[in-house]
Amino acid sequence: MSVLLPKKTTRRTVLRSMMGGGVVSLSMPILDCFLNDHGTALANGAPIPVRFGTWYWGMGHTPERAIVPKTATSPGIEFLDETKALIPHKDKLSYFGNFNMPLDGRSNYTHHSGWVINRTGSAPEAGGDIPAPTLDLLIADVIGNGTRFRTLDVTSVSLARENYSARNTYNRAAAEVDPVSVYDRIYGPEFADPNKADFKPDPLVRLRKSVLSEFSEQSKDYMKTLGAADKARMDQYYTSIREIENQLELQLQKPEPNEACVVPQRPGAPEEDEVIKVREMDSVVETHKIMSKILAMAVACNQTRVFNMVFTDNFANVRRVGETFTHHLLTHEEAIDAELGYQPLTYWFNVRAMEGMATFIETLESIPEGNGTLLDNCLVFASSETNYARLHTIDGVPVYLIGGAGGRVKQGMHVVGGGDPITRVGLTTMQIMGVPIQTWGTNSLQTSKPITEILV
């Protein structure tokens, strides 16, 4: 019986994978400056890996209530009342404002174009269209090997479809919506505790892997008869099988001891309730807290190096008890308070989102790692799909880069885009994470200019 070893990602693999994602040009090897490791090492001397994540919230910011604008890039972010939850973390993140999303004549598909452009570098051609792979997956292709999960995708808003990570329109995994399920998936029987003294590979795992490989090989006969589109889908199928084989292979190896890894408590099963209230904001906030802890520890325990967290979805299907309108509808239907100068209920939701982001930061920061914290070794791309939801504006969509990326980035910067395409942020992010890419995006969104001001 054959036993397939985990496939190593080669430069050719990376190239092939990335060329499927629209116009990119590549440069190899990776620029040394992006591999500059100012971080610390694990107790055994091994370098701490830098991990990547995204954090998403719907509906952007309230104008003039979030960040005081600047005219030039410089250290220091002036937070306003909507973002005041971020003030304690001002030295752990950078803010990117005044970057644009030129559409080249394409429509602004409301609440869709913004996130698609931000994460794929290309404007969609239709509502629902995802024209290129999202940046988290391009990063995962480079750093995601050697862990059980290439990515972990979770959401606190209980809409599994609303995962802003995809290879294309149809190749989009569902997000985990239930804390118990995601906990069991990560820390269930297949989890090998790195700090356990005794480790015995489970013989059943080896057999499972072997059998899977046999069936995988046998299925390849069918490939010869397929059309081009189906071949692409079968390629994805075999990629998926290899990922599971890798997972099984890893279960056969003793994990390195890892002090940062402390298996969290299994969340309690939700109480039986006849009432559905998972998208009440209070529930969303609570679920997000639980999910954040599970996810952060999965990262610390080296179960994944790429993660995606959705706090609220792009249509903000969240509500406040007793309100007839959801957050999204409020952005359109709520009148601007003449005295306050903004929409107060909408603002209330936006504040909750920023508090959620602060919670996420605190969770990553609460896990010691090396001489610092997990946050120091992460880079989190936090963004929304719109700047001002009431008008669906996509120019100026706020982006935050959170965490130290292992010492590769300056933090506490307010970066002013000056109308440049927002793809500069994504390009810089990918380069920091080691993706060998010099140009990213299509049409007017194409850029070759990383934001060097934030690089160490």
């Binding site: 509502g127 199928y237 008890v321």
Partner: protein
């Protein structure tokens, strides 16, 4: 429609050894088509469940989620034709496969589900393994396993059995392997040369059987259908007709197939994420939501299949079913002591008749805390009339019609204000005259006559046909020519997993004519599709590069688009 006369034509033609030409009841021959390139569709979640339960029994538990499909051209069934298996999706399939296989061989089930016992349960038994995998393999792959495939399963089972000293563990591992192969997870259009076909190929008998079975039963072929495929009967008009008649004779399985279609057609998957504000609608619980969906489906199946009544009657029928959960909201006493389902007929003077006045439709196409004339109107346009409502403009400043000094009290007042903005008016004129007709029902479908103290006006029109009540709206829908045309188009798309091709337009018109001739009986339409050549027509797989983004997308992942 196939009539008894038509049956005779088929039989005469078959006996004479000539190819039969399908005719509608009005005698028009089926227009020739070339079909579409052979490809493959990922099993939907329901299809997966049905196949497993049909093969191993309803007691096999299938836990957990499936990767969602993208709704395309108004159907998940069409999205399935583009769906890959993502890494996370495969992981889910693998978990399910392991769980199912473990259940099949557990001590409670093995005696029933395995056709043989091993000579020694602590060792491999190739003969017994082979018997098992041959038996389940044909049901899971929807064709016999090749010798290579069979040998892979038997060898895997043998290795595991020898290593673990457990014959059943071997079967478990082998079955797990079968359940994650593409041959199981995808419905594959396997073809064979056919000199009589304009494309030079045709579906194999087994692939034909699968297409038919998933249309009528939402599951894989049963043994009789597989036998018909093996014998070549499905390639004859008579053999095909006999199988279609047999399958349509199974009330339970046909009802399951029709339910599956309407779940997709009406986008009832939305119930999975439906949520209402319980301070506004305290009576709306999980149980109520589940019952509301069930009521819709029971009404439709009863009307179209059990009674074989005209399809447009689903918009006017007073006959339905209720249980104790719905009874509380409809304020109808449920007489069954266990609170279970019972038939109910709304009185003639009741405000409700037809599925559009049922809680399922009304609550599904509303906001969590209020009704939505726009969402309801859009659902009627897009789902029931197959019309595309344009996406809302991105640059509307709603403050133009939000007057804090004179706030709107009713939906009509609010939407009238929207219509003052030219860029909004275009779409609202399409949706609102219909949607406002439902305003006597709140966000969960409870009856009301006023909103915030103002009397609700529910008059409107559907494409020029006026109405002044929701019942009148139902009547207008029942008489709308777009209703049967939309159903015909979508049912065919559902069965083939793709929108009709350019050269199939005449064929679809032929189906519509047959449907009309039958008095719009769904059974007749199903029969026409299932016995037509076009339904099985394929061409060579699409060799050149195929743009996976070329399909017309209908983004329905968001539950709120309009106001």
């Amino acid at each position: 429609m196939l009539t008894s006369t038509f049956t005779k034509i088929f039989r005469t033609a078959a006996a004479a050894g000539i190819a039969a030409v399908a005719l509608t009841a009005c005698g028009e021959p089926e227009p020739a088509t070339n079909g579409a390139p052979a490809d493959m569709r990922r099993l939907t979640a329901e299809q997966y469940r049905h196949v497993i339960h049909d093969v191993f029994g309803d007691h096999i538990e299938i836990a957990g989620r499936f990767d969602p499909l993208v709704r395309t051209d108004g159907l998940f069934a069409v999205g399935a034709r583009k769906a890959p298996i993502t890494v996370a999706g495969f992981e889910r399939f693998y978990e399910k496969a392991r769980s199912i296989a473990a259940q099949v061989v557990n001590e409670d089930n093995r005696a029933v589900l395995l056709p043989c016992s091993p000579a020694d349960s602590s060792a491999a038994d190739a003969a017994c393994s082979r018997q098992f995998f041959e038996g389940v393999g044909i049901q899971l792959y929807r064709r016999p396993l090749t010798e290579n495939e069979l040998e892979t399963a038997v060898a895997a089972a043998g290795t595991v059995a020898d290593e673990l000293g457990d014959f059943y563990a071997g079967i478990e591992f082998g079955l797990t392997g079968l359940l994650v192969t593409p041959n199981f997870l995808f419905i594959i259009d396997e073809t064979e040369p056919d000199s009589s076909s304009p494309t030079g190929v045709r579906l194999t008998g087994y692939a034909k059987a699968a297409r038919l079975s998933f249309l009528l039963w939402d599951s894989g072929p049963d043994q009789m259908l597989l036998d018909a495929a093996a014998s070549g009967d499905l390639h004859t008009a008579q053999g095909l007709e006999e199988q279609v008649e047999r399958m349509m004779g199974s009330k339970v399985l046909l009802a399951r197939g029709v339910r599956a279609f309407f779940e997709d057609f009406l986008d009832l998957e939305k119930f999975e994420t439906l949520e209402k504000d319980t301070t506004i609608y305290p009576a709306y619980t999980i149980n109520v939501a589940e019952s509301a969906k069930e009521q819709l489906l029971r009404t439709i199946v009863h009307h179209t299949i059990s009674k074989d009544e005209p399809y447009p009657g689903i918009f006017t029928t007073r006959e339905t079913f209720i249980d104790s959960h719905l009874g509380r909201i409809y304020r109808i006493p449920v007489t069954r002591p266990d609170g279970g389902w019972e038939a109910y007929e709304f009185p003639e003077d009741d405000v409700r008749s037809g599925i559009l006045t049922q809680m399922g439709f009304l609550s599904l196409f509303s906001h969590p805390g209020r009704s939505s004339a726009t969402l309801r109107g859009m659902a009627v346009r897009e789902l029931l009339l197959c019309q595309k409502v344009p996406d809302p403009p991105s640059d509307v400043d709603f403050s133009l019609f939000n007057d804090p000094d004179a706030p709107s009290r009713t939906a009509r007042e609010r939407l009238t204000a929207h219509s003052t903005v030219p860029s909004c008016a275009g779409c609202h004129k399409i949706t609102d005259p219909i949607g406002l007709g439902f305003e006597h029902f709140d966000g969960v479908g409870q009856f009301r006559t006023t909103e915030q103290g103002a009397v609700i006006d529910v008059s409107g029109d559907v494409d020029g046909v006026p109405f002044d009540t929701a019942k009148g709206l139902g009547q207008a829908m029942a008489e709308h020519p777009g209703v049967p045309a939309c159903l015909t188009n979508q049912l065919y798309s559902y069965g083939t997993g793709r929108a009709p091709q350019r050269d199939e337009r005449e064929y679809v018109r032929w189906l519509e004519a047959g449907f009309a001739e039958s008095g719009y009986r769904l059974r007749a339409l199903l029969r026409d599709i299932a016995t037509s050549d076009a339904f099985y027509a394929v061409s060579q797989p699409d060799r050149p590069s195929d743009d996976v983004r070329s399909a017309s997308l209908e983004e329905t992942t968001n539950t709120e688009r309009g106001s």
